[in-house]
């Protein structure tokens, strides 16, 4: 079993972070993992995406042309990656920042108003966690509570961030539970 995931958005949206959260958690479960970043020319703003591979076997290619899953955090990323998802693949979309329809009809997508949700939780920057929560709710590649634990380690010296991010994760998962997201 191998899960190939691409997470994409602006720089500054915490794209890399949630990717790392996933692989750190998966390693705890003794899986083979690979995380690979890709940046645009700008330091802040500009595009940023990462590849996450979680597998029971030795991981070959770090390059994933056609992932099974995607978390898409902004419009340029949608434009760039939409066509690459495998048929029946999973796409979590940050609906707050995307003002167009999904074109693909052969995929499973979930439109989550992640930025708004995070904003309501007190910090729009936690939108990444909202989307991650949604993703984990659907694809149980790593244990949800394990991920929360990893999160605690990541923000060990900032308990308010832990709280915020945990809430965001949960709110993301809840969105999926609503199961009313797909148009």
């Amino acid at each position: 079993m191998q899960e190939d995931l691409i997470i994409a958005g602006f720089g500054g949206q915490g794209i890399m972070l949630i990717g790392q959260l996933l692989v750190y958690s998966a390693l705890e479960e003794n899986k083979n993992v690979l995380w690979m970043p890709s940046y645009g020319p700008e330091t802040r703003g500009g595009f940023a995406n990462c590849t996450v591979i979680i597998s029971n076997e030795e991981i070959g290619s770090p390059i994933v042309a056609h992932p099974q899953s995607m978390i898409i955090m902004n419009l340029p990323s949608l434009d760039r990656f939409e066509d690459e998802l495998i048929p029946q693949g999973l796409m979590i979309v940050n609906d707050s920042l995307i003002n167009r329809k999904i074109k693909r009809e052969d995929i499973n997508f979930y439109l989550i108003p992640a930025t708004e949700i995070a904003d309501n939780l007190g910090n729009a920057k936690a939108a990444n966690m909202v989307d991650l929560g949604a993703y984990l709710k659907i694809k149980n590649v790593v244990d949800f509570t394990l991920t929360e634990k990893t999160l605690e380690k990541f923000f060990a010296n900032n308990s308010s961030l832990i709280e915020l991010n945990k809430k965001a994760l949960e709110r993301g998962a809840q969105e999926i539970a609503k199961e009313t997201l797909k148009p």
Binding site: F10, G12, Q13, G45, N74, L75, S96, L97, T115
Partner: protein, 73 residues
């Protein structure tokens, strides 16, 4: 009578114009632009003096300033 226009797509919401506007007539909008920033906007056209300090300081050259020309005597 004066005003500024902020090119909404170009603005990165850095807030520098806001900080330096002597009349405090600029604020950040509530709407994200496609770049992912909340751009600046003029909130009070009446108070704006057209001093162009905002434009002078804008790193993204997103501001244009308009002023009623004084009538020439």
């Amino acid at each position: 009578m004066a005003k500024i226009t902020v090119e909404q797509e170009r603005c990165k919401g850095c807030g520098i114009c806001i900080a330096f506007c002597p009349k405090k007539v600029i604020q950040l909008s509530k709407n994200l632009n496609p770049k992912g920033f909340f751009p600046a906007e003029l909130i009070n056209e009446k108070e704006c003096t057209g001093c162009a300090i905002c434009a002078l300081m804008c790193p993204d050259v997103a501001i244009e300033v308009y002023r009623q020309e004084r009538e020439k005597k």
